[in-house]
């Protein structure tokens, strides 16, 4: 075939319009497709819940509104703790946990990236600590702390409320992850920033504080919030120590009432805690992406 571009132009003009069918869907395609898929998915769920062989038992086991109310409000006579009260245990566990995790995670990251020879033993310790904590299942750490600290029979630290041991364990476990997230964020700042700051005569410390960390924070926030979402859920693991939190209360109501509606209540409250955070994280990530695209 001769590579003669004039030959193409002299012939027919290329057709750029789509077929009639695609013209009909053009512009509406997105709306039509999403409407159909929503209907199909909803129908499938309803079908399973209403038409499965055990659908009736399933519904009365999980969606008994009266028993949902009992597990929410509690019933002291039957020894059922109120989920409505227990949820504050989860809330303060993760709120205090998040602060402690940030502090410990930042310190670990700081120690691990430091270069001072004085800090060498701490660097080794911090590395071993993060390796161990990232390697152990969260549940195991909760058990070790929750049964270990009381067993030591020390004054004060061996006689704390169960949920406090939970917070300690979660803090140890999660700060290892968070320190890695922070470290990655610090390494994501271009080297030229470090060179420019040091060339102005800023110390390593001021460079970190004024130049590197402020820029690292921006990249670090979405993954950090992700870790916090999973922390919020993992507060449920503290139930294994016997602390009365959402899941523990739900599970007491389940075994007392022989009904799982309390578990649904618990699920609703976990979702109510985590979904806003998830949405917020998504929003931040989308905003960051737009900003990056705008700069590029």
């Amino acid at each position: 075939m001769p590579l003669d571009s004039d030959a193409d132009l002299s012939g027919e003009v290329p057709k750029l319009f789509g077929s009639r069918r695609s013209q009909f869907f053009a512009g509406r395609r997105g709306t039509v497709a999403s409407t159909i898929s929503v209907i199909v998915v909803m129908a499938a769920i309803v079908l399973v819940v209403y038409r499965a062989p055990g659908a009736a038992e399933f519904r009365s086991y999980f969606f008994n509104f009266h028993k949902m109310w009992i597990s929410w409000a509690g019933d002291p006579a039957k020894g059922i703790s109120a989920i409505g009260r227990a949820l504050f245990t989860n809330i303060w566990m993760f709120m205090i946990g998040e602060v402690l995790i940030l502090v410990l995670g930042l310190s670990l990251a700081w120690i691990r990236i430091s270069q001072s020879p004085v800090l060498l033993p701490f660097r080794i310790l911090a590395t071993v600590f993060t390796d161990v904590m990232r390697g152990l299942p969260t549940l195991l750490v909760i058990f070790i702390v929750g049964y270990g600290l009381p067993a030591l029979e020390l004054p004060l630290v061996s006689h704390l409320p169960l949920a406090v041991y939970g917070v300690i364990a979660l803090t140890l476990n999660y700060s290892a992850y968070v320190s890695e997230v922070i470290r990655a964020g610090i390494f994501s700042v271009p080297n030229g920033q470090l060179l420019a700051a040091r060339s102005l005569g800023l110390t390593h410390r001021s460079t970190m504080r004024r130049v590197i960390l402020p820029q690292a924070v921006r990249t670090v926030i979405p993954p950090l919030l992700n870790d916090f979402i999973s922390l919020q859920k993992d507060t449920a693991l503290v139930s294994t120590l016997g602390a009365i939190e959402i899941f523990q209360a739900a599970s007491i109501s389940q075994s007392t009432l022989f009904n799982g509606s309390g578990l649904v209540v618990a699920s609703i409250f976990f979702l109510a805690l985590t979904v806003p955070m998830t949405r917020f994280t998504d929003y931040l990530m989308a905003r960051d992406r737009t900003r990056r695209l705008a700069n590029a």
Partner: protein, 244 residues
Amino acid sequence: MDDVVLELESVVKRFGDNEVLRGVSLALHRHEVVCLIGASGSGKSTLLRCSNLLENIDGGSITLFGQPLEDKRIDPDQVRRHVGMVFQSFNLFPHLSVLDNVLLGPVYALKRKRADVREEALDLLERIGLRDRADEFPDRLSGGQQQRVAIVRSLAMKPSLLLLDEVTSALDPTLVGEVLDLLTDLAHHGMTMLIATHEMNFARDVSHQVVYLEKGVLVEQGTPEQIFTNPQHEATKKFLERVR
């Protein structure tokens, strides 16, 4: 000589097996402008980075204001407070406004009061015609404006020596002029500068000495007239023919 600012003696620098500087000797006097020319990888940037201790040398010695930088008592931060450096890629701090970029060094390295430095910083920005952009962030500025802010950021430290590392190489050709004009202005005001550059006309106009480096060796040094009109070495001639 009393007014020697920077003196390099047989400086050797290696990165692994790669010898980037192979015994370079050079002296820079007060109010003097020296331009380093040579192909990429000839060691120009490394020479600059060794001069403010961003890199440590493997042999020879560097003396700044009569004090050998190899001396254990030397504080690198103290050295850098007197030696400004400007980079090819500007490296402005993107999270700080133009004014805060300029204030960062004086406030956090020199521990001066923000209110005291503010006027100075604004005056410096005035000099480059960017006073009205002081509160904007660097990404709102053109490359040429960013690089001029980067130069001003160094000047705010009142350095005794300014190191410039191919400061126009990342710029759109139309923006090179404004940066070179600023440097020429600084030269006329007596700023001592060591400039790595690919801008031969600028090197010819502004410098007192021109140094040709090739593969980490100082091949030839002389006045701009000597180097550009009558180079003595074959290597220098070839290089100048290629860049012309």
